[in-house]
């Protein structure tokens, strides 16, 4: 017997009981929809977290001064002033497989232009900062080595600062006052938008590190050193070399505690993506349970259907239907329920996921994998839970079935 014929029989049978077929499908619709919506939420969380870590720079090591320890009372990390610009230079020169080294200091100041003022964070950086943070200059230029060595009072500003102080005017070449000292604007950064942590990445003022240390903050240390390693697999080697080098430079020997910490963003990223992966799996499997419940619903209805149609089965068998014919008819029926339910579930799941991202102001990620997996899973459920009722139908004795009232 032809498959198309079995398909037609199945559709006829399903259309004969529209409401019942729909209610049976509902289990699968909710199951598949929930799996897709939940996984897209989980993947959205994962993407947000990994993006925010990646936006800090890839293959990045962050060196922070250690916490001050006075008589066993420890202050917050960064509370000591042990890191120097020379440390950064030493790392650049002596550690292998390093692309960029960027020491920074920062403070928050009022910035004034004409009758406008704006509060922003002012960061002192070296030219490497641009590469390490993947910044682009929209107009003008970035801080140069010469600005560094001359301690020039020059500044590069973000678009938020530019629009707040200058409106539509071109800021390049203008003078602003930072902490009452004049700085000449040499460039405007291209907009980067909001970071996934919610910080406005365009609300920045960047000046040469030396200028910031000596002319603005009056300090000799740096607050952090960002190091970009050439590749992912060189991270551990670079990290251990930096640690050795800094211990040596800071004259820390034996079992004494480091006065600095080297943070590895990769391990952070791995932990975070592991955690979010677990969340996704958890959400997905909870939704998956509803799929199985939906499958049991199909089985339940198919059992009822087989009993109800005992006489029909008897007639078909008397007319020459084989075991396989009857088996196929009922199996296709349950698969059709699950396939149609699965497709509606996919549409609803995607719609729900989009609705969550619109209403919840939270980006969800729909990928093809959970769609395909949940679809084929629902087909599998239709098959699995359809086999028993279909076998029951196919095994009916034609004489008994014909006698059934």
């Amino acid at each position: 017997m032809l498959y198309s014929e079995s398909m037609r029989m199945a559709l006829t049978a399903l259309l004969a009981n529209k409401l019942r077929s729909l209610l049976t499908m509902l289990g699968i619709i909710i199951g598949v929809g929930a799996v897709i919506a939940m996984i897209s939420v989980g993947m959205g969380v994962r993407k947000n977290v990994t993006d925010s870590i990646a936006s800090l720079g890839s293959n990045m090591l962050v060196i922070m001064p250690g916490s001050a320890n006075r008589g066993g009372v420890r202050s917050a990390a960064g509370s000591t002033i042990t890191l120097k610009y020379d440390d950064a230079e030493a790392i650049r020169k002596r550690v292998r497989n390093i692309d960029y080294v960027s020491p920074t200091v920062s403070g928050s100041y009022q910035i004034v232009y004409g009758n406008q003022n704006w509060n922003s964070s002012v960061t002192g950086v070296t030219p490497d900062y641009m590469s390490i943070q993947s910044l682009k200059v929209q107009s003008g230029s970035f801080i140069t080595e010469s600005d560094m060595s001359k301690r020039n009072r020059v500044a590069v500003i973000g678009t938020t600062v530019a629009s707040n102080l200058f409106g539509t005017e071109n800021p390049v070449g203008k003078n602003i006052r930072v902490n009452n000292a004049p700085y000449k604007i040499i460039g405007v950064l291209a907009a980067k938008g909001q970071s996934s942590m919610g910080r406005d990445q365009d609300d920045v003022v960047i000046i040469p590190l030396t200028t910031a240390q000596e002319r603005m903050l009056g300090i000799t240390y740096v607050q952090s050193i960002n190091v970009q390693v050439a590749s992912q697999d060189k991270m551990e080697q670079a990290q251990s070399e930096i640690e050795t080098l800094l211990r040596q430079r800071h004259r820390i020997t034996g079992g004494k505690e480091d006065d600095f910490t080297v943070r590895n963003l990769t391990s952070l990223m791995e932990t975070m993506s592991q955690t979010t992966g677990m969340i996704t799996l958890l959400l997905g499997s909870i939704a998956g349970i509803s799929l199985i419940v939906g499958g049991i619903g199909i089985m339940n209805i198919m059992m009822v259907s087989v009993t109800e149609r005992t006489r029909e089965i008897g007639i078909r068998k008397a007319l020459g239907a084989t075991f396989r014919n009857i088996m196929m008819q009922f199996l296709i029926e349950s698969v059709v329920i699950s396939v149609i339910g699965g497709m509606i579930g996919i549409i609803l799941g995607c719609a729900a996921s989009m609705a969550i991202s619109v209403v919840g102001d939270f980006s969800t990620v729909i990928t093809i994998a959970p769609i395909l997996i949940s679809f084929f899973f629902s087909v599998g459920i239709g098959l699995f839970f359809g086999i028993y009722p279909a076998r029951k139908a196919a095994k009916l004795d034609p004489i008994e079935a014909l006698r059934y009232e």
Binding site: M1, L2, E5, I315, L319, T322, I399, L402
Partner: protein, 240 residues
């Protein structure tokens, strides 16, 4: 020179026994039946309830298997075939007409008639043509698209007869085909059977009404699992 000479033996039963176990006892529904039915015969099978008539009918219709014995249908041994082979045999060699019509209620008369062809693997277009041809032969071509519940009892039975004929079977098994019909429809249906007989079809008719059985060319009486009388046309047998 009898009518049956040289005729092909469509059904040949030898020592057919059907035993049922009831508790410790073994009950014989059929106690060893020998029977030959030739091609083109119109045989009426009669007998009181409990006589084994239904069991014999089921075995003849390949719906059931005998416990022992041999059943040659059109020369082929079918007594101990598997379920699926029996299904194929029913599909190809036997057309059923039931007392309560046994049409599928959700599909049209035409689709009902075409159903055996679906299981015979005949393509859609040819199915429709053949089904329409046989519907026409029972005078219902204009009712092809009607569902069974839109037809009268007599019309439903005619659809069922068309369905029994559609795969051109060796024998037609009719189980009380007029049991649920009024006098007028009964007459119509019996006329169709007689016409089929005159066209050379082999018909086995199960009935308990002597008047219906009298239409057949041969009458068989089953009692206590055996054929106790075998008579020609026109004899009105006393079933009880």
């Amino acid at each position: 020179m009898g009518m049956t000479e040289k005729r092909h033996e469509t059904i040949e039963l030898k020592g057919i026994k059907k035993l049922y176990r009831m508790g410790d006892q073994e009950v014989a529904a059929l106690a060893g039946i020998d029977l030959v039915i030739h091609q083109g015969e119109f045989a009426a099978l009669m007998g009181p309830s409990g006589s084994g008539k239904s069991t014999l009918m089921n075995i003849l219709g390949c719906l059931d298997r005998p416990t022992t014995g041999s059943y040659k249908l059109d020369g082929e041994e079918v007594a101990h075939l598997s379920d699926d082979k029996l299904a194929v045999t029913r599909n190809k060699k036997i057309g059923f007409v039931f007392q309560n019509f046994n049409l599928l209620s959700r599909i049209s008369a035409l689709e009902n008639v075409a159903l055996p062809l679906v299981y015979a693997g005949v393509g859609g277009k040819e199915r429709k043509e053949r089904a329409l041809h046989y519907l026409d032969s029972v005078g219902l071509a204009d009712r092809a698209d009607h569902q069974p519940n839109e037809l009268s009892g007599g019309q439903r039975q005619r659809v069922a007869i068309a369905r029994a004929l559609v795969n051109d079977p060796h024998i037609i098994m009719a189980d009380e085909p007029t049991g649920n019909l009024d006098t007028k429809s009964t007459k119509e249906i019996m006329e169709i059977f007689e016409r089929m007989h005159s066209l050379g079809r082999t018909i086995i008719l199960v009935t308990h009404e002597p008047e219906i059985a009298a239409c057949a060319s041969r009458q068989l009486l089953v009692r206590d699992g055996l054929i106790t009388k075998d008579a020609g046309k026109g004899v009105v047998m006393d079933v009880v």
